[in-house]
Subunit: 136 residues, 2 copies
């Protein structure tokens, strides 16, 4: 039986001082989930520490430097060629000002009660419901 | 503020055909959690794919070749020098016979109803309660 390889993606719930979560709206030209709300983060480059990879991705995508607080949840998705396992951490902004890259068209600080109602990437909907339930 | 670096460890719930989960008993000479029941898996070496790292760790620790099925949960722990984030996957044995390394003194296939009552490593107790609740 052919088994699709698993790739690992690290995402983060960045919470501001009011407990709102940062979401990024994927560009309409994204190959997958165009126009959907996403969490910051992404794949680890081979040879990179996972925490440094996440901080790098967040800085590239948002302009923010964050501090990692702990683990928040899991998710998974599947494409024709592989499967992706997501480890979702929790973090807080330390410095920097929000400045989006060309990957995203918009951003929003979302109250956790509103999180499940957002038009999120499919693979994070289950996590969003659970995380919202646990933290509101 | 000093922030401890996060290391990543990948663990796996290996389920047999009866839905029992494989636990490994850490050697009494282990530096941490000596004598406690643990899940197979471990840290990713820098430069290693995470799924290959997990399959390698499981083969080294148990003699088994497994197939990865999906994500199962999270955990975290802290030592004086760092924090560890755990991503826990789910897998099934494909081939091989159980053969422990010197890291472990015993192994057991445990019914998921019994999982929370096992003397597990502290950091997996919360996961074990939740996983048992979800799957029994």
């Amino acid at each position: 039986m052919f088994e699709k390889p698993f790739a690992l993606s690290i995402k983060v719930v960045v919470l501001d001082a009011n407990g709102r979560c940062l979401l990024l709206k994927r560009s309409m030209s994204s190959k997958a989930n165009a126009g959907k709300w996403d969490l910051p983060g992404g794949k680890i480059n081979i040879g990179e520490r996972f925490d440094e990879a996440l901080l790098r991705e967040v800085a590239e995508e948002t302009g923010l430097t964050i501090a990692l607080q702990g683990v928040a949840g899991i998710a998974e998705s599947e494409s024709p060629s592989n499967r992706i396992a997501y480890l979702i951490l929790e973090g807080r902004p330390k410095s920097g000002e929000l400045l989006l890259s060309r990957e995203h068209d918009d951003c929003a600080w979302v109250d956790l009660r509103e999180l499940p109602a957002m038009d999120l990437c499919e693979q994070f909907r289950s996590f969003a419901r659970e995380y919202s339930r646990m933290h509101t």
